[in-house]
């Protein structure tokens, strides 16, 4: 009702754009429609101007995808300055000493949130509701729960690459075994393999903590990482940090390719098998020691088996029972 009243006092639309905006209001009155008719009648070109304005708006349709991340951010955002204040008070993402004796922080809540899974052999992309972009490695799963305070993701299996939408008011955390990787906006990968968890930081800063991001102490008693760092840990054991100059190679799967620098063929075939629809087996064990330097694309029309056959110094034979045998060329 108040909307209708204020509409009466609002300036009368003068242009096609004004009218287009006015007629988008809720409950356009007959009187308003009559005024619009009068405006259309007043100048023979007004119909064309109005239709052009409408068509310009309709023609924006292909941009829907371009603005999807912005819309996701708007959808999710809440007014909550409390947490950003707390982050500022604790000094932002300051470097902190590694804690010696690690406390197990039992998860009190049952698994909640939305589960995203990638199929075996298939790398998948996900845009979260906050605009963050996640690339799931083959056969991986994350659980996502964005609340008013913290954007919480848990890596349940496999590996995930995160490009976190920058939002200092809402820390983004990835639960990894008994730790949380806490960030505000950056690029990094998390991996679960061989009973251990790995974090590779490509850009920005993260803190690995045993505490939840909603806990003010999470940032001060965690382990801070710098770009190029790789951190490895097991539940209840301290975090071990390595400085690596080849993180782009180690995390190349996020760009849907595998990169090998002077790696044994056995390692290449083991890595490639994760993305192949057929299990790959090296027939000749001596062949496994062959050193390989190659970039192996994981997407495209050609199957991975055909690519290995073409790119590596081997021949691959497909068997009737669905395997692929790797032999010397």
């Amino acid at each position: 009702m108040i909307d209708r009243l204020t509409a009466l006092f609002a300036r009368r639309p003068a242009t096609a754009e004004d009218w287009l905006a006015r007629l988008g209001r809720p409950g356009v009155s007959t009187r308003e429609q009559d005024r619009f008719t009068a405006w259309l009648e007043a100048d023979p070109d007004n119909l064309d101007r109005y239709e052009s304005a409408k068509a310009r708006s309709a023609a924006l349709e292909p941009l829907r995808g371009v603005f999807e991340a912005d819309l996701a951010r708007i959808r999710w955002r809440r007014r909550d300055p409390a947490l950003s204040r707390r982050l500022l008070l604790s000094g932002g993402l300051v470097a902190a000493a590694a804690v010696g004796g690690v406390l197990m922080w039992p998860s009190l809540s049952a698994p909640a949130g939305r589960l995203y899974e990638s199929a075996p052999g298939r790398i998948s992309d996900v845009v979260l509701d906050d605009g963050s972009h996640v690339t799931l490695d083959a056969g991986s799963a994350i659980r996502v729960s964005l609340d008013d305070r913290v954007r919480r993701v848990t890596l349940e299996r496999g590996a995930a690459y995160f490009e976190v939408a920058h939002d200092t008011a809402h820390p983004f955390q990835v639960g990894l075994m008994d730790r949380k990787v806490i960030v505000t906006g950056t690029r990094f990968t998390t991996t679960l393999k061989n009973e251990a968890a790995e974090v590779a930081l490509l850009e920005g800063r993260v803190v690995i903590s045993t505490r939840d991001a909603a806990d003010g102490r999470a940032l001060t008693d965690g382990v801070a990482m710098a770009p190029g760092d790789q951190a490895v840990f097991q539940p209840g054991r301290p975090v071990v940090r390595h400085v690596r100059d080849d993180l782009d190679v180690a995390t190349a799967w996020r760009k849907r390719r595998l990169i090998f620098r002077d790696a044994p063929l056995s390692e290449v075939i083991a890595a490639a098998s994760r993305y192949s629809d057929r299990p790959l087996t090296i027939v000749d064990s001596r062949l496994g020691a062959l050193r390989i330097t190659a970039i192996l694309p994981l997407d495209g029309d050609q199957s991975l088996v055909d690519r290995i056959d073409a790119l590596l110094p081997v021949t691959v034979e497909r068997t009737a029972d669905g395997r692929a045998l790797v032999r010397a060329e």
Partner: protein, 186 residues
Amino acid sequence: MDAPSEGGGVFARPAGEAARQAGAVAGLRRDVVSYLQRKGQPLGDAEDAVQEAFVRFHRAGHDLSSPDARPLLFVIARNIQNDRWKAAARESRRLVAEDVATLDAGPRAIASDDRPADDRLIGRQNLAAAAAVIRALPQRTREAFLMHRFETQTYRQIAARLGVSVSMVEKYIAEALRQLKMSAED
């Protein structure tokens, strides 16, 4: 992986109104006829022009359920009638005077779908320019426009989201449309 809701017209309405809308068309048709009669048209001619007006209305991509439908139909029908009169007048003059010269002028465009189709389409680089214009809008203007255009939220929903009045949302939308027009004319 929520897919954005489909639709996205400037005046998209909830789907439930579609059925009610079908019944409203007959009434709308009568209204257009009486509008033309008020403008001094003989009834038989008016029915004809209304028929054509509805065809042009749909071809131009308008939507009967939106509040601009009635005024647009009125004026499109009126333009059709006017052009018919002029054509008829020319025809009778031509028969008398063989005045071919006036024919060269041709009838005035009635609705914009008479223009070449690609006049209406936004090319790839123009689309990039439009995206840049939207990105350069002040934050609230941009957010209001994005919610309106791509999420078909009502002004009331947008107002609640941004914590402003419905009138303010209208101003934001008008401003965004104005900026888009200016960039399209450059």
